[in-house]
Subunit: 204 residues, 8 copies
Amino acid sequence: LRQGFPEVIFGAGKSAGQVERIMASLAAKGNNILVTRLDEAKALAVKEAFPSAMWHADARCLTLEQRPIEKRGLGTVLVLSAGTSDLPVAAEALVTLRMLGNEASHLYDVGVAGIHRLLARRDVLFSARVLIVVAGMEGALPSVVGGLVDRPVIAVPTSVGYGASFGGIAALLGMLNSCAAGVTVVNIDNGFGAAVAASKINRE
Amino acid sequence: LRQGFPEVIFGAGKSAGQVERIMASLAAKGNNILVTRLDEAKALAVKEAFPSAMWHADARCLTLEQRPIEKRGLGTVLVLSAGTSDLPVAAEALVTLRMLGNEASHLYDVGVAGIHRLLARRDVLFSARVLIVVAGMEGALPSVVGGLVDRPVIAVPTSVGYGASFGGIAALLGMLNSCAAGVTVVNIDNGFGAAVAASKINRE
Amino acid sequence: LRQGFPEVIFGAGKSAGQVERIMASLAAKGNNILVTRLDEAKALAVKEAFPSAMWHADARCLTLEQRPIEKRGLGTVLVLSAGTSDLPVAAEALVTLRMLGNEASHLYDVGVAGIHRLLARRDVLFSARVLIVVAGMEGALPSVVGGLVDRPVIAVPTSVGYGASFGGIAALLGMLNSCAAGVTVVNIDNGFGAAVAASKINRE
Amino acid sequence: LRQGFPEVIFGAGKSAGQVERIMASLAAKGNNILVTRLDEAKALAVKEAFPSAMWHADARCLTLEQRPIEKRGLGTVLVLSAGTSDLPVAAEALVTLRMLGNEASHLYDVGVAGIHRLLARRDVLFSARVLIVVAGMEGALPSVVGGLVDRPVIAVPTSVGYGASFGGIAALLGMLNSCAAGVTVVNIDNGFGAAVAASKINRE
Amino acid sequence: LRQGFPEVIFGAGKSAGQVERIMASLAAKGNNILVTRLDEAKALAVKEAFPSAMWHADARCLTLEQRPIEKRGLGTVLVLSAGTSDLPVAAEALVTLRMLGNEASHLYDVGVAGIHRLLARRDVLFSARVLIVVAGMEGALPSVVGGLVDRPVIAVPTSVGYGASFGGIAALLGMLNSCAAGVTVVNIDNGFGAAVAASKINRE
Amino acid sequence: LRQGFPEVIFGAGKSAGQVERIMASLAAKGNNILVTRLDEAKALAVKEAFPSAMWHADARCLTLEQRPIEKRGLGTVLVLSAGTSDLPVAAEALVTLRMLGNEASHLYDVGVAGIHRLLARRDVLFSARVLIVVAGMEGALPSVVGGLVDRPVIAVPTSVGYGASFGGIAALLGMLNSCAAGVTVVNIDNGFGAAVAASKINRE
Amino acid sequence: LRQGFPEVIFGAGKSAGQVERIMASLAAKGNNILVTRLDEAKALAVKEAFPSAMWHADARCLTLEQRPIEKRGLGTVLVLSAGTSDLPVAAEALVTLRMLGNEASHLYDVGVAGIHRLLARRDVLFSARVLIVVAGMEGALPSVVGGLVDRPVIAVPTSVGYGASFGGIAALLGMLNSCAAGVTVVNIDNGFGAAVAASKINRE
Amino acid sequence: LRQGFPEVIFGAGKSAGQVERIMASLAAKGNNILVTRLDEAKALAVKEAFPSAMWHADARCLTLEQRPIEKRGLGTVLVLSAGTSDLPVAAEALVTLRMLGNEASHLYDVGVAGIHRLLARRDVLFSARVLIVVAGMEGALPSVVGGLVDRPVIAVPTSVGYGASFGGIAALLGMLNSCAAGVTVVNIDNGFGAAVAASKINRE
Ligand SMILES: Nc1ncnc2c1ncn2[C@@H]1O[C@H](COP(=O)(O)O)[C@@H](O)[C@H]1O
Ligand SMILES: Nc1ncnc2c1ncn2[C@@H]1O[C@H](COP(=O)(O)O)[C@@H](O)[C@H]1O
Ligand SMILES: Nc1ncnc2c1ncn2[C@@H]1O[C@H](COP(=O)(O)O)[C@@H](O)[C@H]1O
Ligand SMILES: Nc1ncnc2c1ncn2[C@@H]1O[C@H](COP(=O)(O)O)[C@@H](O)[C@H]1O
Ligand SMILES: [Mg+2]
Ligand SMILES: [Mg+2]
Ligand SMILES: [Mg+2]
Ligand SMILES: [Mg+2]
Ligand SMILES: [Mg+2]
Ligand SMILES: [Mg+2]
Ligand SMILES: [Mg+2]
Ligand SMILES: [Mg+2]
């Protein structure tokens, strides 16, 4: 993540004070900043010190834009998700994509058990340059999408589910075994990592 | 598995001699007989003692029909499968269904990564009374099928795959976490068990 | 889950406000509504907005009946459970079965370590058209029941137990390996899914 | 395993020559000898050197009795097993029990899916002082037996099964989670260990 | 657990009110009562209704003795434990043993990394009729004890530890693989079950 | 995998005869063909029917080029591997990349325990457009490479190793947890899938 | 841990009162004392009784030095760590090393995804006699370090991470499979154990 | 593994021809060579090309000494093992230790279930500078040894066992959780790695 790019802080396990101190030192250099995995209480505390920072509640991300974000992508990155519980991971990917200078859009509520809703939006699928597919439970969505499009598909398993979903293992295994060749996978709930990968692909 | 039904022998781990002796004692009572999980060499040996037995190579099953099979099902049981490697499990289900007195048919090569092939056969899906969906790798097919039909869907994970498919665990977990409510699941590669369950559902 | 059927909301991970908003929009269409996995505090908050909704504390379900439920089942669905800790899962199945238009009854305290209590109720077992068997710990009850009846048996493992029960894995594996052919299995604690499957079987 | 007791050789992974050499040195001291986990080819080779040794094919054990076995048990140890594939493990337990000076008997084909066959033999169950219950697949038999008798029950999971039986893990977990209090468990396929434990219990 | 024996209530997951109601109905029949897995707050609430009940804080057990406990054991059951964190499980075993009419004693702080402390108490080991060995972490103590004594040894793995102890799995596997033949094992933290098994062995 | 692209046959579990028949029908349409996971004996048998097919022994792949392969990539895809045992997976990726119209090159013997060998080839790393990193054992190479380059990195865990490598699980988990953001992962040993993904990225 | 050495108390799961009582009895003998895994609230309570005790907040350790610590090491033990979340484990190792009489120093923020930061400090690496490498996520740092130095390397996996890091399992497996021969491993988060091992190596 | 040291070839998965070619190129430089994990047939083939090479059948290692091995250790490295099946791993460690210039000795048949045999050899334990403890099954030996000596202890789990030993996982987990502080662990069956680590510790 080099120059022109935002500095990224992984918020989980850090106190508001720690986040604030790291932000202060990075902000002093004029950088844009992205904080992920922050909870609301900490975010509001941090915002008092950085009033121009933006809090993305659905994505649990805080962003500080000190310079205009340079558009660097060749096309649009499309983020797909199925259930409402997958939304925070999809949102983390979207915020990250935009901070990295990509056009990004979102197609949601397109699970495999209602396949017609997905097929009805084939136009959107076909107009994307890179696709990020977020899915929990059986993690089947990337296989269907990967069979429909020719573009790179990055699959993000989520920890959504209960019982034999084992905190995202079922979805992770489903995606690694996708019968649609060429699907690649990131860690459970790692919307940020998927966005970084998509961003590298989307640059000329 | 009571009267009017075939006697069933689980062939795995039994010698041809053992299978032959058990068959002889059951055949003496006039029963129909189904032997599952038999390999070809043993099957041919056993067939010498029972020349009227039929060998179903694709299903690794041997059947002996001493009486006409009473038709007892209310409708058709449809078996779906995706890859060619799932065929033996699907075939085991089909042979079992027929020995248990069901109309049964097969729709194959309908994987989730080529969803149009499945959608093109919606008529067949809708005409079945019970559906058995056989799938390996990510095991996503039952979710898609379960979202299309209103009838009972029984999912059979197969041990097909490599690496993180872990001998069928990935498919099994996918099916247990299906987002299509009402899908039920049997053990990995258990085409026989799925057929017995479907048969109980198909009877009035 | 199509017309004539209730709309279903998965309550886990949703705030009372979110549940209320979704219910409002579904209720406006005149539908019956079933909310599962709701905790008591949220349920009471939601009930203030929908005073005619019913709270099923044992099942952690909230139901709203705006139209009479059409009876669609051919027979009775029997729910069996062993320990008291399995009761919430059994209750979720029972509420769902009734919302889906089935006659449903419950036989409890019939664990495998006191087999006579189960055998004493063979009449009830034999009069059911479909059976849902809820069990935690070693998950052995479906095998015994499956050996006694000829009807479809759906097994629901529960997360009850400690140590090597691994949150329901022991029960799940026990059920998948049932030596009673034709037992099918749903996800751990998934009383709702078992009821949907039973309901599809119970319809003509 | 002290004086008066047989010397025990674990045959797995040893060559016929190695077994023969160890037997020769032990036999020279006049001891009785039990070799477990031996395959037929090796056993026959070893028998040439020790013509009075007995080969128990079903148990894969070789025994050499140089002195009369002193009867030391207070009662009978009963070994129960369900499927035919559990027989070798049950047989290993029986041979070991007898070499250790116990009265031992065997009740087989009494699986949980045919509970009446077990209940029909309650007399045999009640007359045993210690019970060893051998079961694969879902491993449910010890729970049922443990609920019927008051005597110590030792459960032996077997590696019999396929798919989600995971080489005996399903049965092992089932037994560890038995709802019949007081069932204890040994390693998968360890008929020998169960017999040693039962023998210690059976001695005054 | 038949007549002359206490009634047992598994306290985990039950409210103080539920425990109280069950106790009341059992106490009315004059039985002795043992409640396990109770936390202090609930125990104190329950004790208000049953002032003669005794609270065993270290064992998290509540007992109510309405009749004298009949001594039924042939000898002493010895409970061994290593670390201080294993004490609650050992205490649960001790309370259960006494409620079941056994002489029971306790040897603690005898871990395998200080083997001399164990060896210094060989006299105590040799005077026991049955031994219960409680150990967490690597669960090695039962192997050492089983190699020293000839009496039945029941091993109880505990969930004590961190990291790769996996909540008791490491200890459980260690015990199942004990190289001391004849050690049997119960579920993780199951001091109660070990005591019931020991009690059955200890009776003539 | 659409027009202009080779047809792909997964050779594992297919007989030489089956591969030959599928190839014949695909070849009749004038397509290029790639067969993966073929063993040498079958490959030689198939080559008799298709003398112009090429056998890539290191990659266990057979290719048939009936038309010139259209160059479609924008840059070079670099395949890196560490140990000699990772070579077959790297070779499968290379053959696939070339059949899909990419410039591809290979950098080998660059494991993390000899980091200077990797750093000495920074020029090669920096000149690639997409990188595929093949590694077994601890699977650390993608993290180091991902920290050095800005381009998309696809990680392929291999089943190389023993003991706690668990057939590639250690490497797989290492790659999913890579601290170098933007690394994506495919199934264990899936050189083919990595090449398909890289090929989609490499196209304009 | 014999004479001249501090007494060590494992603080996890002990109340402030328990820690205080154990400390009092050990302190009476004039020993130095190290308490690990203590949380801040308990530490402050204990410090009131032992005002001269020192609280190491980053290491969650409390130390009491009643006698000067005898320097016993032959050289320096270097502790390396990558991410900020690995710091508490590194700090536990450092405090332990010093209490055991070693010179110890710390090199941090040297993760594998920024390999130049590590290489820039080769002088520090080469001057150490023993190295402890603390790393979470993919746990790759010990392989790189082990390839650079000739001295003993002890690897400590940490539970840092999410999703497929499985509480440190990914890092643990990575380290056990290190391709740098001679790396040894301790339990997840076990900075204390690594320091004890390093200390034994560092003594003449 | 730098100058003065042997070159090491990992023989597993290499053909005799491959091993021979690598040996030839290394031998040309005058190096000593150690080949591990070689099977007998290949070893004999290789020995024809290198008649002065020595075959260590018990260790499955081939060594070629072209120069005298420089003694570099400060003391003796003691290898302990319990069962006869652990001998090959112990032997691999011994051969490696000697090729690396260490005095090495072996104490065998000292399992934890016969603790007196170990205690009878305390003199040998106390005279070693570094100890390698090889154990399968429950892997308890390192804890006992680590409690007796003050020197560094390296534990090697072996894949010996069956059932719940899971190919060495039980022993591995036991060792990682050793209650004897300061025990470090290497991969399952990795006698070579333990010897390299011990050798680094044994050098001044
Ligand atoms: N207890 C439950 N377990 C599993 N799935 C459920 C449960 N309750 C509801 N569902 C499913 O969740 C869907 C609604 O999810 P949502 O849109 O998040 O409220 C329903 O259509 C059901 O298929
Ligand atoms: N089938 C078996 N399963 C587990 N342990 C066994 C078995 N047979 C023998 N043993 C144990 O193995 C020891 C002998 O091992 P060995 O010296 O390798 O022949 C005996 O003392 C028994 O404790
Ligand atoms: N080595 C491989 N690993 C994973 N998938 C593969 C591999 N080779 C081919 N495939 C996939 O398998 C499909 C062909 O399978 P089949 O019809 O069974 O020959 C191709 O379309 C590929 O997507
Ligand atoms: N038995 C063994 N276990 C683990 N690693 C080994 C073993 N034998 C050799 N190695 C390592 O493998 C490397 C050589 O691998 P290779 O180049 O494939 O022959 C050596 O430098 C050693 O680090
Ligand atoms: Mg999904
Ligand atoms: Mg599939
Ligand atoms: Mg149960
Ligand atoms: Mg069974
Ligand atoms: Mg212990
Ligand atoms: Mg590697
Ligand atoms: Mg790391
Ligand atoms: Mg051992």
